[in-house]
Each structure stands twice: as structure tokens, then as C-alpha cells.
């Protein structure tokens, strides 16, 4: 018995030790040491790496990785499929778990500086000659108050009206030349939406309502009705300024779409995915979005690319603005100098250069073409201030262009439009407050618009602007 007891103790201790080792091994580091791996190579973890579900793109990127590493034997590229998501970004950045090169939308340009999760890349940008060729306004958006730069643009776009041509044609909204009638004002948009609903039974327009997407989209309408959402006072504090007759008119426009014209989608709980899905599956004829989402409609929802058209943002009674958006590259703030150098080498290799890498542009556009994605003749909103580069792009893309540019010309011309960046402070918080307002307008037929407008402004002021450090 005694011997058995002793053996039991040995087994128990061994089991406990095994479990402990298992636990502790889970806490190990990633193997990186001062930005170098165990082979002494400089490690650069690249985000937005294609997922294995997109096999063709993944194969091409894997080939690029091998080509790059052959040309730079001291650098190890580590793929990371992390893609920006508003729900995970705050946590990932706070925990230092972002890839070394990550992409964020323009709306995060200042927040990544405030959070200290982006490296200062001013000197590298100068050295790479990017400051002379990238759009100056975009560079300003990525800089802090001292003019130091923390990210660089990858793509840019303006919000516009995405149109389902089939539904427009069924409703008779067609010009003599066969193109669809793009709404020029928000009043016209509402009329078209009502006409489409009446003629086809499908919603003429969809409005998102949750996850801050509603507020983000409403911004476009409100600006054009003359609304300013916030302003900085002389003492540096911020005041909410949107409870105005102009904002009431904006909400009245939305109210009329819902309750008087019956032109909106039936579902009133619509987040970002449901918003694109509503359009991509033919349940709405118009949404406010940018060209970057056209391919989402094609690849995710199987929409025929020839059914999509884009128009510029309609004009409002007081202004003609469109929200500027896009993607930025940022480098993690904890990178060593040699990692930053290596990251720039990778970006340069991936065509982030003043001069177009024709071979890479050809390969990437051919891939898009082969995968059935839309290839435009040029970037409709380019990040480069360089006409020669644009001409070169046109030449390279010509064999792969697979849309009729007539369907996008109105959007690309963007006549009379002024591009605006998102609100400077508490943008996400503002969108959240506006989501609530939109939900109230769309679900309560007896809504008191001035009352909810005042409450929203007070809430935004008290809960967010007054509590800023």
C-alpha cells in the first residue's frame, strides 16, 4: 500500500509538472528579439495578407514574399491576415497585437497618433521621395500638430451614390443615351427612391442604423443641408453645434423617405454588413457608398458588375460636400529602426513608389480581371499628385478594364464637390449618437424631431466632448 501511495505521488507530481509546462509554454514569446528572429533576420509582420479562401491572390502574394526575401535575404516577411475592424482595433492596438504593417481607414488617422500605436515615418517618407508625389491634403490628415507624419495613404475615395441599374431601368429612370439618371440633389434622390418603390416594389434607398454606420453615412446628408457637428472654442474645448434647423431638415428628409414616401428598406436594424448586403442582393436601388465597395457587391454577394453604377454625392440646399475616405498604411510604434527600413522596402516592393511598377500593376490588375473583380481604367480618386503616373496607369490597365466608364463618369468627374474629412474629435461617439437619432426617426412615426435633435446634441456634449482630456 505504502509503495502504491508513493507511486501515486510520483505520478501526480509528474502530471502536475506536465500540465504546468503546457500552461507556461502558452505564455511564450513569438520568438522575435529586438525585431530579429532566431536566424538573425529582421522580421516584418505584414497585415491584410490574403486569406486562404482567396487562393489566387494568396498564391500571388506568396510569390511576392518569396521574391522579396530572395532579394533581401536579411528580411523575414511574416504574413498576418488581420484586417481592420472597428470592433477589434481598439483592443488590438492597446494590447500591441497589431501587425508591423497594418492598414486603417482615414477615420483612424488621428486616433492612431493619440493612442501611440503608429511610428513616426516622416523621415522615411522624405527619403523615399513620397512627400513630393503624394496628395498634400492626404498627407496633412496623417500628420500631428507638429507636422510629423504617422501613416501614408494606400487608397482614397469619395462617398457617392451606388446605383442598381436594373432597378433604375425598371422604374424608367434612364437618360436618352441609355445611362441611368443620377440624382443631383437629395430631394431628387428621395423622388427617385419613391418612384422605384412604386414601380418595382423594391426599396429605393437603404439607410444603415447601427454599429455607428448610420451616423457615418448621415454625415454626408447633414453636411449638404448645412450642418456643422462640432467646433473648437478659443479655450481649446469643443462644443457640439448640430441642433439647428438645418439638422431638423436633414432628419425631416429621412422621415419623409420612411413615413411619407415609404421608399426605405423594411428592415430598420441595419449594420455595415447588412447595408452592403441589402444593395448587393438587390433589395435596395441606392445606397451612399464608395467605389471601393463595388467589388464587395460582386465577390461577396454575386452581384453582376454590369448592374452597378456610381454617381457623385447629391447636392444639398446649402452645400455640396462628400466624405473623403480611404485606407492608410501605418507601422507599429514599437518597431526598431531596421524594422522600419525593412517595412519601407516591402512597401516599395509592393508598388508604393512615386514611379509606377508596371509589372506589379499588370500582375495585380490581371488577377482582379481573372477573378471577375471590377478593373477601372484608373484610380477614380488617386492618392498621387502626378498626372504622368495616372497616364501610365491607364496604359497598363487598358487590356483589363471590364466596365463601361459611362456608368462611373458622373462619380469620377465629381463636379463642384468639396471633399471633407470626418469630424476631428469623437467621430465614432458622434456616429453612435446619430445612430440613435436615425433609429428614432425610422421607428417612431410620431417622433418630435427638434426634441431628439436637442437631446442628441446634449448627450454628445455631456457624455463625450465635455469628458475629453
Amino acid at each position: 500500500m505504502k509503495k502504491t501511495g508513493f507511486m501515486m505521488k510520483i505520478v501526480a507530481i509528474a502530471a502536475a509538472a506536465a500540465i504546468m509546462i503546457g500552461m507556461l509554454s502558452g505564455c511564450g514569446s513569438s520568438g522575435k528579439n529586438n525585431g530579429r528572429n532566431s536566424d538573425g533576420k529582421i522580421v516584418v509582420e505584414v497585415g491584410n495578407w490574403p486569406h486562404e479562401t482567396d487562393e489566387a491572390t494568396l498564391n500571388l502574394w506568396t510569390q511576392y514574399e518569396q521574391d522579396f526575401e530572395s532579394a533581401h535575404p536579411d528580411i523575414d516577411i511574416v504574413p498576418n491576415t488581420y484586417v481592420y475592424d472597428v470592433k477589434t482595433f481598439a483592443t488590438k492596438s492597446a494590447a500591441g497585437q497589431l501587425p508591423d504593417i497594418y492598414r486603417v481607414p482615414f477615420s483612424e488617422a488621428q486616433s492612431i497618433i493619440r493612442r501611440g500605436c503608429a511610428a513616426d515615418i516622416t523621415d522615411k517618407m522624405k527619403e523615399a521621395g513620397l512627400l513630393d508625389s503624394l496628395n498634400k491634403d492626404l498627407i496633412d490628415m496623417t500628420s500631428d500638430e507638429n507636422g510629423r507624419i504617422y501613416s501614408l495613404p494606400q487608397t482614397a475615395y469619395a462617398q457617392g451614390v451606388m446605383i442598381n441599374k436594373d432597378l433604375f431601368k425598371q422604374a424608367g429612370l434612364v437618360n436618352d443615351d441609355g445611362t441611368v439618371k443620377v440624382p443631383k440633389t437629395f430631394e431628387e434622390l428621395a423622388e427617385y427612391a419613391a418612384q422605384i418603390k412604386e414601380k418595382t416594389g423594391v426599396a429605393g434607398f437603404a439607410m444603415p442604423t447601427t454599429n455607428n454606420v448610420g451616423g457615418w453615412i448621415l454625415l454626408n446628408v447633414a453636411w449638404n443641408y448645412g450642418v456643422e457637428f462640432e467646433k473648437m472654442n478659443d479655450d481649446g474645448k469643443w462644443t457640439a453645434t448640430f441642433d439647428t434647423p438645418e439638422f431638423h431638415d436633414t432628419l425631416q428628409w429621412l422621415y419623409d423617405l420612411r413615413w411619407n414616401k415609404g421608399a426605405l428598406a423594411d428592415n430598420t436594424v441595419i449594420d455595415g454588413s447588412a447595408y452592403t448586403e441589402t444593395f448587393g442582393t438587390g433589395q435596395a436601388a441606392m445606397i451612399l457608398r464608395a467605389t471601393t465597395d463595388c467589388n464587395t457587391m460582386v465577390t461577396r454577394y454575386g452581384m453582376n458588375k454590369d448592374v452597378i453604377a456610381m454617381g457623385e454625392m447629391p447636392e444639398g440646399p446649402k452645400a455640396h460636400y462628400s466624405q473623403l475616405g480611404g485606407q492608410l498604411y501605418a507601422l507599429k510604434s514599437t518597431l526598431t529602426d531596421e524594422q522600419i527600413d525593412a517595412a519601407f522596402e516591402w512597401l516599395k516592393f509592393m508598388n508604393v513608389t512615386p514611379e509606377l511598377d508596371e509589372q506589379k500593376e499588370t500582375e495585380l490588375r490581371k488577377l482582379d480581371f481573372d477573378q471577375g473583380r471590377i478593373v477601372w481604367p484608373y484610380d477614380l480618386f488617386s492618392i498621387w499628385d502626378d498626372d504622368a503616373r495616372t497616364e501610365n496607369v491607364k496604359k497598363v490597365r487598358e487590356p483589363f478594364v471590364n466596365i463601361d466608364m459611362k456608368d462611373y463618369q458622373n462619380y469620377a468627374d465629381a463636379e463642384g464637390i468639396t471633399l471633407r474629412a470626418e469630424p476631428e474629435v469623437c467621430a465614432q461617439e458622434l456616429y453612435s449618437v446619430l445612430d440613435g437619432v436615425i433609429q428614432e426617426v425610422l421607428t417612431n412615426k410620431d417622433v418630435d424631431i427638434p426634441a431628439i435633435s436637442k437631446k442628441a446634441q446634449d448627450d454628445f456634449q455631456v457624455n463625450h466632448l465635455d469628458k475629453m482630456d
Binding site: K9, A12, V86, A90, A94, N267, T443, N444
Partner: protein, 304 residues
Amino acid sequence: MKTIRLKSGGGRRRISGLIKRNISGWMLILPSMLLFVLIVWRPICIAFYYAFFRMQGMQAVRFVGLQNFKDVLTDTAFLQTLGNTVKYVLWSLLIGLPLPFLAAVMINEMIHFKGYFKFTMYLPVIVPTVATCLIWKMLYMDGQGGLLNAILYFFDVGPYTWLSNKNLTIPLIIVSMTWQGFGTNMLLYLAALQSTDQSLYEASRIDGAGFWQRFWHILLPHMRGIILLLAIRQVIGVFQVTEQPLVMTGGGPNGASMSLGLTNYFYAFQYGQFDKSMALGVISFLFLLILTFVYFRLDRKFNE
């Protein structure tokens, strides 16, 4: 002092003796104890600590005393959110508590197909919460695309608004939660029902007592303890409701389904305001601590 030292020394000896005697047992529970401390207690303690600091990302940068608590409690939506959370709890007691009990009573009375009904009623428990939310969201969807409206449309009724109706949104979410949690509660009730003194039950039957008489005079008094315990457990669980409004309504319409848990989630994951999130977490923790204390007191009382 001397006595105390002696006592303390004796205590130490007793503890070390206890550990030596059961060394294998202690070694085996050590990993789970460590895991428990690392994964459960450490974050709770850190959250308490950080709730008093202004944070940048996940770094505490400045001690601010009770400012984070003040910010959370003076948020204009706080009272509405607290009220909503209480509404969730009340609706769950109204819907979620009696239905599994009634189902358990029915199954207990059954002679055939007991196993089948137990199995089918338990089935939703194994469906992941997010999947359940998405199923019910599709069911409740406004317009003719919603499953519920499609069924009503077949009978030429509706369409109605469901989740976007402020007065219905919380009860409808509770219905989906009840559907998912139904099986567990039903099995617990059934276990308690089956431990009823069968001779008493049979005797009452022979004496001519009907179902309702047996229910009121034998089952209900016997089940009082488990009903109360499950009620407290339900209050604690539903007080933390987060995923359901997050997936089904995003907290809308206009905050009508926003709960404390969801507000906490938004503070942390939507706005990156981890300091406020910690403070609200501490406030919720204190609420729940009181409820948990009540639960354990009741549990001990009924087990005695």
C-alpha cells in the same frame, strides 16, 4: 500575544500537515488553481485598480480617483441603461422562469416519450449564442423578409415591426434567451421534481387529488427552494446580458435595448475607453456580488 503566536504556529503546523498528507491532491489542483488566479482573479483585481486611472490604450497613465466612476454614472444614458437591464431581468423572470418549470412538470407527468421531449427541449442549449441570436434576428426581421412576418403574411396579417418596436424589443430578446436556456432550467426542475417523495404523490393520487391539487399542495412547496435559486441565478445571468442586444439590435432602437453589459462592451471595444469600461465593470461587479451573496445564502439554507 503569546497565546496567539502559539495558536498561529499550531495552525501553520496543521496546514503544512494537511498539505503533506495530501501532496498529490494539492499538486494536481495546483495548475487549475494557478489558472483560476491568472484568468479569473488577476483580471478582476487589475480592473479594480485600473478603474481609478486614466488609461491610454491598456497603460494606466494617471491616477484620477473616482473620476471614471463619476463619468460613467453621470452619462446621460446611464439611468436608461440601468432601467433597461432591470427590465431584462424582470421580463426574464416573467417569461424565462415559469415556462421551463411548467415544461418540467408536464414531462414529469408523462408516461411515454419522456426522453424524446427532454432531448428536444435541451437541444437549443448546444447552439452557440451568436447563432441563436442570428436565427431569432431573422425571425423577427421587419417587413415581409422576416420569418414571423412571412408566416403572418400567409394568414393575411401584418407585417408588424418587432425588434424595432421600442416596447417589444426587450421582451423579444428575452424570448430568444429563454428558448436557448430553456433546456438547462427544465432539467434542473425535472431533477428536483423527480426527487419529490413519490409515496406522498401516489397517496394523494389514490386520495383523488387532481393535477392542480397535486401541483399546489405537493410539488410547489417542494420546489420552492430550487425555484428561488434558479430565479437568483437567472437574475445574475440576465443582468450581464450583452451578446443578444449586440447581435440583434446593436442596443437600439435609440438605446431601448442597451444593457449595462453592452455599454461596457462599447466603452472598451468601440471607443477604446478602457478606463470607463473598468469603472462600469466594477459597478456591475458590485451589483452582482450582492446578488451572488444572496444566492449562496439561499443555496446553503435550502441544502440544509
